[in-house]
Symmetry: C2
Subunit: 483 residues, 2 copies
């Protein structure tokens, strides 16, 4: 089904050859490789590329202005709705540390956390992860014998992974242990081996839905094994960053069908909803039914005797406004009590007015899904374009593989071994900014120097096409230099 060495596939650091046929939810069907470009042609292409004097950026997973426009209606929810008369309570004053119940109810469903165990605080889930680690390092979590900072603490990092997760570990002096990423989550044999043997291994980073950057979707079986994991550390934690819980690019959900017990298919009707200027109060007429959610990690952990094992994170950063959204943290009652005890000394409460704006704008989980269908209509052409250019330009290149994600914000491109750093360098010289090579690995060390993260959401389509074609030229030249 996949053509591991000559086309699109799920990326795994141990080589696409390791992927058993039929298990790669991000794979495409095989296609004919076009003839390899000649060396002269590649050099000429690169010279021409440089001569264009581009200034393009594929570095960060940011929503485009058109995506932000989808939430314009949120900005027009005013005093009539937000004041005490319209809100039914006074949300303007101090208090309400856990966040606004109406908004938490919407995301409780999406993130699979009981609403009373879900906090809505601040505008950044990264900040909530940071603060979880701050308090773990300084004080330990429930079940810790000592603060994490007082003894050796290591964190399992599925790779390639999210650079900001790794930056947090580095900051707090937490050792990072890479674990190969598969298409349905990390290599669980390896996770089990590492966690069972080493009491210093206290956590694992997970992006369960459309993992950053590979697009991998954690299956129920992966989640069950994480929940059941016989960790040597009694205070082992799963840092479950469900950043892309509702960020689907497809309505087919083959990935879910293969790996998850899904509830319903997303309706076709929602796919091409036009962008409505009054999106705030008028969800799409026929909202899509709930797509397959991530595994219910809190329930699985409780079921397997580890009720306090998982912290779940999410945010509206890529739903409403990346800078002005709302972040969420959900966990067991004991963990929530632990964290709110600490947070109560930090703040008297979150911005409940912005939470109320969000609750009024999104209305409910169905409204949220309808809103995400509008994002998908904007994002899908970008991901299709990336796939098309990579296929057209790199299908003939031995060792080049890439993910074809069904959701999320990234495409993970593996270039031939030893070529990633040089590719990024060549692209920078041609005015195309890429995430630094190695960024998707702890300490910036990609052992095969091959992974590049592509963030196609922000640029306009024509710019994206130019950038992707330029990137392909750089990959070909880097491979040529190395051959």
């Amino acid at each position: 089904m996949t053509s591991p060495t000559t086309g699109a596939t799920g990326t795994t650091p141990t080589g696409a050859d390791d992927t058993p046929p039929g298990t790669a939810p991000t794979g495409t069907t095989a296609h004919a490789a076009r003839p390899a470009a000649t060396a002269e042609r590649v050099r000429a292409d690169y010279a021409a590329l440089k001569a264009r004097g581009l200034a393009l950026d594929l570095t960060r997973g940011k929503p485009s202005p058109a995506q932000l426009d989808l939430s314009t209606g949120l900005l027009d929810i005013g005093a009539a709705d937000l004041g005490p008369a319209g809100a039914g309570a006074d949300h303007r004053n101090y208090g309400g540390l856990a966040g606004l119940p109406e908004l938490r109810a919407i995301f409780a469903e999406v993130l699979r956390v009981p609403v009373e165990q879900l906090l809505a605080i601040g505008n950044s889930s990264l900040a909530l992860m940071h603060d979880t680690l701050v308090h773990a390092v300084l004080f330990g979590v429930p079940g810790s014998a000592r603060p994490w900072g007082a003894e050796r603490t290591a964190v399992l990092c599925p790779v390639p992974g999210y650079d900001r997760h790794f930056a947090l570990c580095e900051k707090f002096g937490l050792e990072m242990i890479p674990v190969p990423m598969r298409d349905d989550g990390p290599d669980m044999d390896e996770v089990e081996r590492l966690a069972a043997d080493d009491p210093g291994v206290r956590a694992i980073w997970c992006v369960p839905t459309y993992s950053n950057p590979t697009g991998a979707v954690y299956g129920e079986e992966t989640a069950r094994r994480l929940a059941a994991l016989p960790a040597a550390a009694p205070d082992f934690r799963i840092l479950w960053d469900d950043a892309y819980a509702v960020h689907h690019l497809t309505d087919e959900h083959e990935a879910h069908e293969a790996h998850r017990t899904h509830e319903a298919h997303e309706a076709h009707e929602a796919h091409d909803q036009p962008t409505r200027p009054d999106g705030a109060t008028t969800p799409a007429p026929a909202p899509a039914p709930a797509p397959a959610p991530a595994p219910d990690i809190l329930a699985l952990c409780a079921e397997h005797g580890h009720p306090d094992r998982a912290f779940v994170y999410g945010s509206t950063s890529k739903i409403t406004f990346a800078g002005a959204g709302v972040a969420f943290l959900g966990s067991s009652p004991a963990n929530v009590e632990w964290l709110t005890g600490h947070l109560a000394r930090r703040t008297i409460g979150p911005d409940k007015l912005n939470q109320l704006r969000h609750a009024r704008f999104l209305r409910d989980a169905a409204g949220l899904r309808a809103h995400m269908a509008r994002h998908r209509a904007l994002l899908r052409p970008r991901f299709d374009l990336v796939e098309r250019v990579l296929r057209e330009q790199l299908a003939g290149l031995d060792g080049a593989t890439w993910s074809r994600p069904r959701g999320g914000y990234f495409v993970s491109l593996d270039v031939p071994d030893g070529c990633a750093r040089r590719t990024v360098e060549l692209a920078a010289e041609a005015g195309i900014r890429l995430t630094p090579a190695g960024a998707t690995f702890p300490y910036g060390r990609d052992p095969r120097d091959r992974n590049i993260r592509i963030a196609p959401t922000y640029p306009a389509l024509d710019e994206l096409e130019t950038a992707m074609e330029g990137l392909a030229v750089c990959v070909l030249l880097a491979a040529l230099e190395r051959s």
Copy 2:
């Protein structure tokens, strides 16, 4: 000028008798003491009070609903202003860690911090103090040999002071050393003695303008001595929480005249500005000139060879919405770089849209002052009422003194020694909630058990009157029981 044992005065933990005549900015003129209430009358009054079955709350410094209504216009600043077209830039996306320059410019003037050294982040200055301490404890500040958490660290705490400052110290295991509070700041002889002798003394809490709870206003001389302090610790820090920088209750500024080089008097015209429903875009027609600001602590520190000594904090919590405002932190370039380096791993940026709402609503420092004049019109009657009831009910009670603040959110009441805890208990039994006795001291230990913090801003005037009269009865009964 003051009548230390029988009337209103500045409160100092070493006794009002220590206050030299003429230096008490919070004092009132002496007045005739009314005859002491008879024991029978006091007991009967308390029985009657209990019989009323009240449920009143004087615990926290919260703005009243009418104060929050002053900022209704902020909620109606919508997409036309906040979107890229109206804003002149796209503030909806990630980024801009330092906060919105337009808003920082307004508060740079008020907080006396160069705009490029002032950050606008989150909705809570307490959170910024918390995070400063987190990073000091884990990593040390510029100039630290080791993290504050890795060696004995003590913090000087002027008393009575702010319970949430003390709670942060307790949380991070920072020893607290009380220092007597005077009417122009802490007892600087004591501060100098403690900091010069002990390299473990690394910080001091300061609320320079209308200190919580005494209303003390730090004078230029106090600030100069703090800046020049020959601290044994090379990484000594002044935690300068200017929470009430623009929260004036008077337009006379005797306090400033005595202790500060002030720029101008506040104009009478601004005093009784009516509340405007369109307050957002229409500042009062004749905005008050700038009142005397707090000493320029950053400049003073630099002048005295300690450029990295001070962190300045502020927020709009008691200017716009207590839950949905904006917090500020200003410091030296080195400190700002240190902190933003840490914060950059925590978040990709603050809620710039809410900052833009604030900038549009307040417009400039003059608009901010006009807005604060409207707060003053609502607050002044409450503080006048507290003063009147205390004078009428407690002027005859030996050992009862209280502050008459010219700004801020609190009145500090000293009851006869050994009577504070009992007073709070009696009040609770009568349905009047007060801040716990001792809360204004580190570890909750008021050595003379006499200080009670009164927060008069939130209740309606008639409720406040009932609560204050009830409180006075409780003070008299507690004193009677002890006599």
